[in-house]
Symmetry: C2
C-alpha cells in the first residue's frame, strides 16, 4: 500500500488507528479454548470486530514466536485474515547486515517464499544503512525505523548527545537520506509528547507510528497537537487497551467499544484539522 | 551453559570456533534435494562434520524465517540436533520493550513454550535496559549485545561521538552495569581489528562474539592479538567460508577441512597464550 492509498483509507474511515495484535495465551477468553487454535480464533474475532474502525493492524512477532511453531503458523494465518485494504505492519524490530536483512525482507515481504507479505516492518537502526536497504527494494513496502521509543530504556542511548544532536535525531536525519517519506516511517512513543514538535521539524512528511497510547500512558491529544501533518502523518497504535478490554465472552464487543472511542476521538481531530 | 563450562569446552577442543548456520536454498547441494527437508539435512551433515572442531553453533534466524513455516520448523529441529555440550546462539538481533522482550526470551530460551532453548541470543541495544533485562532472568543464559558490527553501516551510528565516548563504547560501558560477564557478551566484527584493544579495556572479562572472519575479510590473528583474555574470551564465527566451501557432494567434507584449518590456527594461538 502506498502513501496516497493509506491517506485515502484514513479519510474513508475517519481514523488513523492501528490495532496491535499481541496475543498472550493467558489472556485468551476461556470459551475460545475449545478451538483448535484459540489464538487465531481470538485474532480473527478481534479483526472482525474492529476492521471498520482502524486502518492498520500490527502483530508483534514476539508474541507469536513465544508459542513456537504453532505461533509462527498463527502469525501467517493472522496476516492472511486481515482484509487487503488494511495496512499491515510486522512489528518485528529486525535489522542485520545487508545480506541477512535481505532474508528478513523475504520473511515479511515475499509471500512466495515465506507465506507473508506485510506492508511494513519495524527495523532497529543500530546497524545502519545496509541493514535497512534490502527492505526498500520492495515497491510500496515500508520500513518503520525505531527513533524515540515509548519504554523506560529509551533514555539509555536514544537521548545521547552527539555533535549534531541527540542520537534519535541523528537516526531521523541520516536515515531520511536513505529513503523518502513514501517508504520510511518512524516509531515515536506517545509518551514522548514534548518531543513531537521537534520530530516534525526533522521529519515533516513522514508517517509516525505511535505506540504507547492507553496502557503505557500516552495522550492522543498531545500526540496530535504537533504530530499531525497535511496527510495525517500518524498511525496511533493501541494493543492491550483494545484486545484485552475484557477476557470474557464479550471480549470482541468490548474491544470494538474501545476501538470506537479512539476512532471517534480521531474523527474529531481530523475534522478540526480539516483533513476530512 | 555457564562461562566456566564454555571455557572448559574451549580447552578440550582447543578451539573457539563458532560455526554460523545461514542456509540459503540456492546453495544447498543438489543431491540433498531428494530429502523431505533438504535444509535440515544440510544442517545436520554440517553439524556432524564439524562438531568436534567447534564450541558453538550460531543459526541466524533470518535465513530460517525467509522460508516461512517450514523454515521455523527447520530452526527448531536444527537446534534439537546440536549436541548438548556445544554452545548454541540464536542470532536473532531482537530487542523490544520489556514485556515484549520477555516474549522473545520465551521464544529462544523457554523450551516448554517454544520448543527451543538456546544458550544465548543476540540483542540490539537501541531500546536500552528493559529490552535486555528479560533475557537475563534465565540462569546460565546469555545476551550477546551488538556493540561494533562488521558491516559497512557500522559507521552510521555506532561511531557517533558522545560526551563519554563513541556510541558503541557507551553501549559497552552502560550495559556492563546491567549484567556481569557471566551473562553478557558483545558482538564485535572481525573487520574492526584496530578497535579490539579499546574494547578489551572497556570489557576485559566479557566474551566477544566475532563475526566477519573469512568472507567479510577479517583476520583471526588481528582479532586475537588484543581480543584474547585469560579465559580465551573469544568466539570467532565463520559461516559462508565453512558451510559453502563446496556445493557438491563433498560439501560436508570440504566444510570440515575449512573448520579444521581454523581450529588448527586457533590451537596455535591458545598454545602460544598458554591457555591450553
Amino acid at each position: 500500500m502506498n502513501k496516497k492509498q493509506l491517506f485515502e483509507q484514513i479519510k474513508i474511515k475517519k481514523s488513523f488507528l492501528c490495532v496491535g495484535l499481541d496475543p498472550v495465551m493467558e489472556n485468551i477468553p476461556k470459551h475460545l479454548l475449545k478451538y483448535d487454535n484459540p489464538v487465531l480464533e481470538f485474532n480473527k474475532q478481534i479483526i472482525d470486530a474492529t476492521k471498520d474502525l482502524c486502518v492498520a493492524y500490527k502483530p508483534n512477532t514476539a508474541f507469536f514466536e513465544s508459542m513456537g511453531l504453532k505461533g509462527w503458523e498463527t502469525l501467517i494465518k493472522t496476516w492472511e485474515y486481515i482484509p487487503t485494504d488494511i495496512f499491515t505492519i510486522a512489528d518485528a524490530k529486525r535489522g542485520d547486515i545487508g545480506n541477512t536483512s535481505a532474508m528478513y525482507a523475504d520473511a515479511f515481504f515475499n509471500q512466495e517464499k515465506s507465506g507473508m507479505s506485510f506492508d511494513a516492518i519495524t527495523v532497529a537502526p543500530y546497524m545502519g544503512k545496509d541493514s535497512v536497504g534490502p527492505f526498500l527494494n520492495y515497491k510500496d513496502k515500508w520500513v518503520i525505523l525505531l527513533a524515540l521509543t515509548s519504554n523506560a530504556g529509551h533514555s539509555d542511548f536514544q537521548l545521547h548527545q552527539t555533535p549534531e544532536g541527540k542520537l534519535y535525531e541523528e537516526v531521523i536525519r541520516i536515515s531520511s537520506q536513505w529513503a523518502d517519506s513514501d517508504q520510511l516511517m518512524y516509531v515515536v512513543g506517545a509518551t514522548r509528547g514534548a518531543e513531537f514538535e521537534n520530530i516534525r521539524r526533522l521529519a515533516p512528511d513522514n508517517f509516525l507510528l505511535v505506540p504507547g497510547v492507553g496502557a503505557q500512558g500516552g495522550s492522543l491529544a498531545d500526540v496530535c497537537q504537533y504530530g499531525l501533518n497535511s496527510e495525517c502523518g500518524l498511525l496511533v497504535n493501541s494493543a492491550r487497551g483494545i484486545i484485552y478490554a475484557s477476557n470474557g465472552e464479550d471480549f470482541a464487543e468490548r474491544a470494538r467499544e474501545e476501538a470506537l472511542k479512539l476512532q471517534q476521538e480521531m474523527e474529531q481531530i481530523l475534522v478540526s484539522a480539516s483533513l476530512v
